[in-house]
């Protein structure tokens, strides 16, 4: 669809009723897709991958939240049980409303899922009466009350069929009567519990926990405490505390910043009615780390992101929103884009399937392969005859491709375990030369040959200074990481590592032999040291000491240590080369970071300015093309007006502006510059000018001002 607008942006198109049903998701995907022949297959691959990623992340999130959700459930259960106890301590607290302060972090959009699973769990195992409210739907106390009542009584309707009629009646009454108060809720709750007590086995979800509490609590979840109007919240709590004896209420506050907001929002008279317990959830950076660990750093998903795209996604997370959900959305976008724009992505799937798909490639696809940068590089290295074969013989190419695909999968199989090993070795070094988080190391490895970087060298140096027990512990962990790997190379590496570990351990037993005369060599320069107090001198002697010690015969431990580190180094060199060096990497790696950035981190102001500065870019009209960055005088009025306004200061004289505009437009009309009415303002030009100026005002570049008559104020700075 097209618009007549100058600027790029979102436009609302009301869909016509007919079109609505015809387009499915797949049609959308196939429409405008590169290489339409195998697009359906690609769509299916993409869909399957996304479904898998989605379920995996959901499982992951549930696991991450399990701890905190479990403790919250325990808390609610405990509350109900203490309420029924009649011992002194719980009686003294009977007037307090039990409250859980759940600190979730500033990534508010991510919390929805947590709350959803929380209320599901609560309904399943503790109480059917759960209502969650959001700040934006509760501007006033009235609304909050209404929402709470609706949700509590409304959920009850679905529990049981025989109660439905009655519940409907009450809800009808609720709607009829103007005011809903908590006393209504009390009555409703009493009838509800009485009924279930008198033995109608109403509740279907009777869990083993249920037989204890006869009075399930009424849980109200405030999803975003900060956004609530404090006044409303205070009043609501005051009202609730009046009913606490009749109604076992319980609150859960979802807090984004810090628990002290409770004190900021509630005065003592209100907070003294609450019995607050604090629950802290996992921080979002940890959350991200797990998601990356399970989703990105695994060979399980054939789809990969290249370094730049990863960088964009991670920096959006760290710099802008801390939202894991958005990160996953970003991966989804990259996934879609990859399958949509790269015809060869048909090979981006499990190994067996990919090998099958290679055989089904047609000539066009094979040409595409020949045009791949990585493949060209590969061809150049081959023998001349082989080169010719690769470039002309399709069947031969297919065979080679199968081999290459296998290689690529092998590369992935080896890459991740070795990456993890390197990370375990370097993550505890002082000042973290290769990053604290594995994602940093992964980014380095994606960009370039990690072993050529300075940081890697310094990390290796530091590793060479490790004490024996530290080194053994680290190597031990490395073997644990390599254990589950199946590839041959890794297995042999594992065997070698274990050998070395065994040797290290043997050292202990052999260590009984007298230590070499290191002490002498150390003590003698130490004597020198005591004399010299100058810093430079000290450094020098220390260096000398180092040298002399190095030239000394190495102890068996040192020999073994160097051997082990060299082995690690060789592993890194053979397996951690960046994916760009792999042949056919374009099949699996999505590389267009600009697209991702443009979609996820939009720059509205810049695109408006780009549109005004170079209308050609959007209008695709050859007449508007200019070389030196100036605006052609045939450009739309608003572009001319914009360009002229850039030359002005903070205040713009409207009349001068109009004159200048008229001159430019006259030139565009092809009027003779020497004629009398050149640059004259006629009514049409005046009207066009006024319209353009008001458009600029609408876009927020100028505004009317009272400082000077016939002037407008500029709202942006800079210009020509």
């Amino acid at each position: 669809m097209s618009t007549s607008s100058v600027s790029k942006g979102c436009f609302v198109f009301k869909p016509s009723a007919k079109k609505k049903k015809t387009l499915s998701l797949a049609d959308h995907f196939i429409h405008g897709c590169e290489g339409a022949e195998n697009s359906e297959k690609r769509f299916k691959l993409c869909q399957d991958l996304w479904d898998q990623i989605k379920t995996d992340t959901e499982v992951l999130q549930d696991e991450l939240n399990r701890n905190i959700l479990d403790s919250l459930l325990d808390f609610t259960r405990k509350c109900t049980s203490t309420r029924q106890h009649s011992d002194w301590a719980s009686q003294m607290r009977a007037s307090e409303i039990p409250t859980a302060a759940l600190v979730l972090g500033v990534n508010v959009p991510d919390h929805d899922m947590t709350f959803e699973s929380l209320s599901d769990l609560l309904q399943q195992s503790v109480t059917p009466h759960v209502a969650s409210v959001q700040a934006k739907e509760c501007r006033a106390l009235k609304h909050l009350m209404k929402r709470v009542l609706e949700r509590l009584m409304g959920t009850a309707v679905t529990v049981d069929d025989e109660e439905e009629e009655e519940a409907e009646q009450t809800s009808a009454q609720l709607h009829k009567s103007v005011h809903c108060s908590l006393s209504t809720l009390c009555d409703w709750y009493n009838t509800k519990t009485k009924k279930s007590n008198t033995g109608t086995p109403g509740k279907k979800r009777s869990s083993p926990v249920r037989d204890g509490p006869q009075q399930p609590p009424v849980v109200i979840i405030f999803k975003d405490l900060e956004a609530f109007n404090p006044r409303v919240l205070q009043d609501f709590i005051l009202i609730c505390s009046r009913y606490i004896e009749r109604l076992p209420l319980m609150f859960i506050f979802g807090i984004a910043t810090s628990p002290s907001t409770i004190q900021h929002m509630l005065p003592h008279s209100v907070s003294s009615l609450l019995c607050i317990e604090l629950f802290q959830s996992l921080s979002c950076t940890q959350h991200l780390a797990t998601v990356i660990d399970k989703l990105i750093l695994t060979k399980q998903f054939p789809f990969k992101l290249n370094g730049k795209v990863m960088q964009v996604l991670i920096s959006i997370f760290l710099y802008h929103d801390f939202s894991v959900r958005k990160f996953i959305k970003g991966i989804q976008l990259a996934l879609l884009e990859h399958f949509h724009s790269q015809p060869l992505s048909v090979l981006c799937c499990k190994k067996e399937e990919a090998l099958l798909n290679v055989m089904q490639l047609d000539h066009l696809d094979l040409d595409r392969i020949r045009n791949l940068l990585s493949f060209k590089r590969y061809v150049e290295k081959q023998e001349p005859q082989e080169q010719v074969d690769l470039l002309t013989d399709d069947t031969h190419l297919k065979e080679v491709c199968q081999k290459l695909i296998k290689d690529l999968h092998k590369y992935h199989k080896n890459y991740y375990p070795i990456l993890r090993c390197l990370h375990t070795l370097t993550s505890s070094l002082p000042r973290y030369p290769l990053g604290k988080q594995i994602r940093e190391l992964h980014l380095i490895c994606l960009e370039k040959n990690v072993w050529e970087s300075e940081d890697y060298q310094s990390a290796m140096k530091l590793l060479k200074m490790l004490a024996k027990d530290e080194l053994i512990a680290l190597l031990q962990r490395c073997t644990e990481i390599l254990q589950p790997a199946k590839s041959k190379k890794i297995k042999s590496a594992l065997v070698q590592l274990e050998d070395m570990l065994a040797k290290f351990k043997q050292l202990d037993t052999v260590a009984a032999e007298p230590p070499p005369t290191v002490e002498d060599s150390i003590t003698s320069p130490l004597k020198h040291l005591q004399k010299k107090t100058d810093l430079a001198q000290l450094q020098k002697t220390l260096l000398e000491m180092n040298e002399s010690r190095r030239s000394k015969k190495l102890s068996p431990f040192e020999v073994l240590r160097n051997e082990a580190l060299e082995f690690i180094d060789s592993l890194v060199k053979s397996h951690l080369s960046p994916p760009e060096s792999q042949i056919l990497n374009e099949v699996c790696y999505y590389a267009s970071s600009a697209t991702v950035r443009r979609h996820l981190n939009a720059i509205p102001r810049t695109s408006i300015q780009a549109a005004l500065n170079s209308p050609f870019y959007y209008l695709q009209n050859d007449r508007l093309k200019t070389e030196d960055g100036t605006v052609s005088n045939a450009a739309p009025d608003i572009c001319i007006v914009y360009k002229l306004h850039l030359e002005c200061g903070r205040l713009i004289n409207l009349y001068d502006w109009l004159e200048a505009y008229a001159t430019v437009v006259s030139a565009a009309e092809g009027n003779d510059p020497d004629s009398d009415n050149f640059g004259k303002v006629d009514e049409v030009k005046h009207a066009r000018f006024i319209r353009a100026v008001s458009e600029l005002e609408f876009l927020g570049f100028i505004k009317s001002t009272k400082q000077k008559t016939d002037h407008v104020a500029r709202l942006t700075w800079g210009g020509c």
Binding site: W88, A89, M92, R93, P98, T99, A101, V103, G105, V106, V108, L141, K142, M145, V178, H179, S181, L182, D224, E226, A227, D235, L238, I239, R242, A256, T257, S258, P259, S260, T261, I262, Q263, H264, H268, S271, S272, L274, C275, I276, E277, L278, Q280, S283, C284, T285, I316, F317, L318, Y319, H320, D321, F322, N601, A602, I603, T606, G700, K703, L715
Partner: protein, 445 residues
């Protein structure tokens, strides 16, 4: 003491029960009883009772009306989001739900009076009816005619009805400027130390003797009375610390009578609890857990206020810093702080502060969005594109209450904000991004 509560028209037994439930409020109860007169007498139309929090206002009224079985309606004004709700509750408790359902939608005062009179003619009052309004100060915010009308409701409905208003503030703050019927004023004074001791001692747990518990209360009051006289808070503290107090007893180390040893044992804990009086930082359960923890490792007390650390995205931190600078620096000094070549402004000249007071004492000042962004771009160390998410971060800072929007929500053009975080908070934030905020603050120049 029971003698005080003798009053004709009520059964001796019931008065006795009332007196038992209302320790230390005999004078006020007696006064109220005599104001109320005998059940069938007409009573004074309106009574205004005021006193601090937890001075027994609602409790006294509740016990009196309940034990003497007088017809009454208790309404909390917080709960009445609309006046209609108030009317409904009154009618409901006097005449049953049939009467309440007669009220039309969005009932007005005259509707209420009409229905009340109608109902009242069917079932006239044999005894005085009482309407108790808790938190009456909220009545001032409702319709202007409501309070004066309630004060002379007796006249309006021609029934034996008395309004009792309970409030924490004095009557002078209520009086409408158009004047009204003056209610009888009754003050509930704060409890004295002795009275507190007596009341608190009544909460004795059943398994301990009276003397033991009252000695505990004595110790508790000795520590806390100087900082806290709120009965409710003291009761909370008593419940919180009692298990600790009993600990040596249960271990069998001391006898109940050995007050001195018990005192030595509990004193440090009470001192610790002193730091968090009124804060209600932790739930009672957590408090107990914390005490156990502290015994193992002598860690610092960590309540709600100890968790002030907030994790924010990188640019949000800088936005917040920029907002803080914009709020606490005068706009004319921006040039000096954020321009590389600000020219030779002589420091002495520049520092001539025409406002003598520190900006931090005056509190944050509002600033426009433009200024916030200008400062943001100059403090953040890399080039930042003005993306949509920068702007959305500003609005999420507003919902997190770290910034407040000063101008109205609807104002899209040049919105104004204030920074709502403390100096300590911003210092902690800027430390995490290696930004020396103190160098950029006019007050600390």
């Amino acid at each position: 003491m029971a003698a005080l509560l003798q009053h004709p028209g009520y059964e001796e037994e019931r008065l006795q029960r009332v007196a038992e439930q209302l320790p230390c409020r005999e004078v006020q109860t007696g006064m109220l009883l005599s104001l109320m007169g005998q059940p069938h007498h007409y009573s004074y139309p309106s009574i205004f009772i005021y006193g601090h929090r937890a001075s027994g206002k609602s409790h006294v009224m509740h016990v009196l009306l309940k034990e003497l079985e007088l017809p009454h309606a208790t309404v909390s004004c917080v709960e009445c989001v609309s006046v209609a709700l108030l009317f409904e509750q009154v009618l409901l408790s006097f005449f049953g739900c049939d009467a309440a359902s007669l009220l039309p939608r969005s009932a007005s005062l005259s509707d209420f009076v009409r229905i009340y009179r109608q109902q009242c003619s069917q079932s006239p009052a044999k005894q005085t009816r009482y309407i108790v309004m808790e938190k009456a100060e909220l009545l001032r915010d409702t319709d202007a005619n409501l309070l004066p009308a309630l004060l002379r409701l007796q006249e309006l409905v021609e029934d034996n009805v008395t309004i009792i208003l309970l409030s924490e503030i004095v009557w002078d703050k209520f009086r409408p400027n158009t004047g009204c019927f003056e209610p009888l004023l009754l003050h509930f004074p704060d409890y004295s130390k002795g009275e507190l001791q007596k009341i608190l001692s009544q909460d004795r747990p059943p398994s301990y003797s009276d003397e033991f518990y009252s000695s505990y209360i004595n110790i508790l009051l000795g520590v806390f009375y100087s900082v806290c006289r709120d009965l409710r808070e003291l009761r909370h503290l008593a419940a919180l610390n009692f298990s600790k107090f009993c600990e040596p007893l249960e271990e069998g180390k001391v006898k109940e009578t050995d007050t001195h040893k018990l005192w030595r044992n509990i004193e440090p804990h009470l001192k610790k609890a002193m730091q968090t009086v009124y804060l209600r930082e932790v739930s009672s359960v957590q408090w107990e857990q914390m005490q156990q923890m502290e015994e193992k490792e002598n860690g610092a007390l960590r309540g709600l206020s100890a968790h002030t650390h907030v994790e924010l995205p990188y640019y949000s931190k800088f936005l917040l810093i920029a907002a803080y600078l914009a709020s606490y620096n005068p706009a004319r000094t921006d040039k000096r702080f954020f321009l590389k070549h600000h020219g030779k402004i002589k420091k002495t000249n520049f520092l001539k502060k025409n406002e003598k007071t520190s900006n931090h004492l005056l509190g944050p000042k509002p600033f426009p969005l433009d200024r916030l962004l200008a400062i943001f771009y100059s403090v953040v160390d890399s080039r930042v594109a003005p993306t949509a998410s920068i702007f959305s971060q500003i609005s999420s800072l507003v919902t997190l209450q770290l910034l407040t929007q000063v101008s109205h929500d609807d104002q899209l053009d040049a919105p104004k904000y204030k920074c709502a975080v403390s100096m300590d908070f911003i210092c902690a934030i800027s430390r995490t991004v290696n930004f020396e905020i103190v160098k950029y603050l006019y007050d600390f120049l």
